[in-house]
């Protein structure tokens, strides 16, 4: 496969064979070294062959091998000739990140971080096989699938202001529970309000460095040393099942014989099956928004209990990392609706987009890029140029370089806990072996990922944050 270096941070796989467009990879030479080692580039090329793909098959700096589409893949499809693919969204539909600001400073929290973490650990169910604390009726679940975070707010979890600071206002209105299988609902009914496990986490963080003062301030980040809370989780078993159900149903309807990879299976966007998947996916998106809304509410309650107040705990924003949406973008200079897939990528709308809350509209959308466990995370802001570079998308995390199995072999969770403790970072988890899986050495360097995002202009640096307390699911 030909790989052309365009500049320091941009590489192209030129159009060849069945490719309808080129593939474009945003990575430094260092990141490209690891990207080359698995099937990421091949998968990006496969995506470039799909019907109706617009402009380019994009790959974000944190990319690694996925299934069908690479993780870190962004592709937009024409609404008439294009497709929608469950493999282009991923199994963890609307896996995403929410950040709350606080009025607390590092000094207020440092001495109480153990207590805070212990309370969070007690109140927010995490780990595998843990049910939620909320007994849901079937009709409540259907309501959640339709209303997302708005259902949670109606039921006393957080405020309407939170919804304004959530992608899609916390609710994809296209959602319908009808196309969500019984099996998916069965898996979801007991898991609402749970963090899950794997790479999902909840962190108490402090702002270590502010790069752009006015943007940070608009987002509610006023000074270095300020405490933030970051929640990373998704749609749990419900979303996983929706993906699996529609991979099978699309295969039954459209076949897989010309596909190099079975999870590239797709349906025309506007076909009945394409729309059915879109509605079910949107329902799973809403489930995940409700999930994070509830968890954020409990975190506020815990701060109120332990710190005496949760008054300043306004939501900065909530972003999706795995989603397909209909958005307006410029294709060949003409603005039109496209079905954009972001799989392990974050939307990064620049200033002026009507989708943004009014107080952010002059600045752009907040983008959160969590690092690996115990390392820095970043807050970025979407840019105008990202529109032309990546249909307004950037990276979503550090991106793995080592399998979880290998990480368990090499690292011990207790050792990681002790090392973090020496650096002043408290860690709680349901499993030490699970901690070893998430060792930061198993991930790419998040600093390098955000540097590329910043230099290319996919999303610009606003603040760097570091953890004080980590709850790993």
């Amino acid at each position: 496969m030909e790989l052309k270096r365009i500049n320091d941070n941009t590489w192209e796989i030129p159009r060849s064979g069945a490719m309808k467009v080129p593939a474009l990879i945003y990575a430094s030479a260092k990141l490209m070294e690891t990207i080359k080692q698995d099937q990421t580039l091949e998968q990006a090329r496969n995506v470039a062959c799909l019907p109706g793909i617009q402009t380019m098959s994009y790959v974000m700096p944190d990319a690694h091998q996925g299934y069908g589409f690479p993780i870190g893949g962004v592709a937009a499809f024409d609404m008439e000739e294009g497709i929608i693919s469950p493999g282009g969204v991923g199994y963890d539909i609307n896996c995403g990140v929410r950040v709350l600001r606080t009025d607390f400073k590092e000094n207020d929290v440092r001495a109480r971080r153990k207590e805070l973490l212990a309370e969070i650990f007690k109140e927010v169910p995490a780990g595998v096989g843990k049910g939620g604390v909320t007994k849901l009726s079937r009709s409540a679940l259907k309501d959640i699938l339709l209303k997302g975070a708005a259902w949670a707010v109606e039921n006393g979890y957080g405020s309407k202001e939170d919804l304004l600071r959530t992608e899609e206002n916390g609710r994809m209105k296209e959602a319908d529970w009808g196309p969500v299988s019984e099996r998916a609902m069965e898996r979801g009914i007991s898991q609402l309000g749970t963090l899950g496990a794997g790479n999902h986490f909840l962190e108490i963080q402090k702002v270590e460095k502010i790069f752009v003062k006015d943007v940070a301030q608009a987002f509610g980040i006023d000074e270095e040393g300020q405490i933030l809370v970051m929640v990373h989780c998704g749609s749990r078993g419900l979303g996983h099942q929706v993906a699996s159900d529609y991979i099978k149903e699309m295969e039954d309807r459209f076949g897989i014989k010309d596909l190099p990879d079975r999870e590239l299976v797709h349906a025309p966007v506007k076909s009945p099956l394409g729309q059915k998947y879109y509605k079910a996916m949107a329902a799973a998106v809403n489930y995940a928004f409700a999930n994070r809304q509830m968890i954020a509410h409990w975190v506020r309650d815990i701060f109120k209990k332990v710190m005496g107040s949760s008054a300043g705990m306004r939501q900065v924003y909530d972003v999706c990392h795995n989603v397909a949406k209909v958005e307006r973008h410029k294709v060949g200079g003409v603005e039109k609706e496209v079905c954009i897939h972001r799989k392990g990528a974050t939307r990064s709308f620049g200033p002026g987009r009507s989708e943004l809350p009014s107080d952010y509209r002059a600045f752009g959308q907040p983008v959160f890029i969590p690092g690996s466990m115990g390392t820095a995370s970043y807050i970025l802001v979407g840019t105008l140029e990202a529109e032309g570079l990546s249909f307004s998308s950037t990276a979503h995390g550090a991106g793995r370089v080592m399998s979880r199995h290998e990480a368990i072999r090499r690292f011990r969770g207790e050792q990681i806990r002790d090392d973090l403790a020496k650096r002043g970072i408290e860690l709680q988890s349901t499993s030490w072996k699970g901690v070893a899986e998430e060792a930061s050495a198993a991930y790419k360097d998040v600093d390098e990922v955000v540097r590329v995002s910043h230099e290319v202009g996919l999303g610009k640096l606003v603040a760097r944050v570091v953890p004080l307390g980590v709850m790993k699911g």
């Binding site: 299934y67 199994y91 096989g129 099978k248 079975r262 999870e263 979880r404 499993s431």
Partner: protein
């Protein structure tokens, strides 16, 4: 005989499972999936759940069968300890699998260290020769 072996993969878990028959390889593949989440050898065998799945080809059959582990975990809090009485029948176009899962529905008794989000088709391979079967699966973590 080695039941399963994990291979190098950037992010997820990739394994091969072995058996004298396809049924045995499928059984061992289920244990490989379980091994990512808990130590199946330590899980009590006090609950028995019948599993029946279908698939138009063997890959789909394997996918649906392994997905049952995740479904039963989420809906019944069931931890797999072993697979018994596995039977694979059929031909191209319509395969069926029946088996009994043995395990426990009290997850609080065990350390659960990881989560499998989904079974995937990525790099899935199924090979059956006289006296030796091997399946390869990547699971999304």
């Amino acid at each position: 005989m080695e039941r399963y072996r994990f291979l190098q993969h950037t992010a997820d878990a990739k394994f091969q499972a072995f058996g004298a028959t396809l049924g045995e390889a499928f059984s061992n593949a289920a244990l490989a999936v379980a091994s990512v989440m808990w130590d199946w050898a330590k899980v009590a065998r006090n609950v028995r759940l019948p599993v029946k799945v279908r698939g138009r080809d063997l890959e789909r059959l394997l996918y649906n069968y392994l997905e049952e582990i995740l479904y039963l975990l989420d809906t019944r809090k069931f931890l797999l300890a072993g697979v018994e009485d596995i039977r694979i029948r059929g031909k191209k176009g319509e395969y069926r699998l029946e088996a009994n899962f043995q395990g426990d529905t009290d997850p609080a008794r065990y350390e659960i260290f990881g989560e499998v989000k989904a079974v995937t088709y990525n790099e899935m391979r199924i090979e059956e020769k006289a006296g030796a079967a091997c399946v390869q699966v990547v699971i999304d973590l």
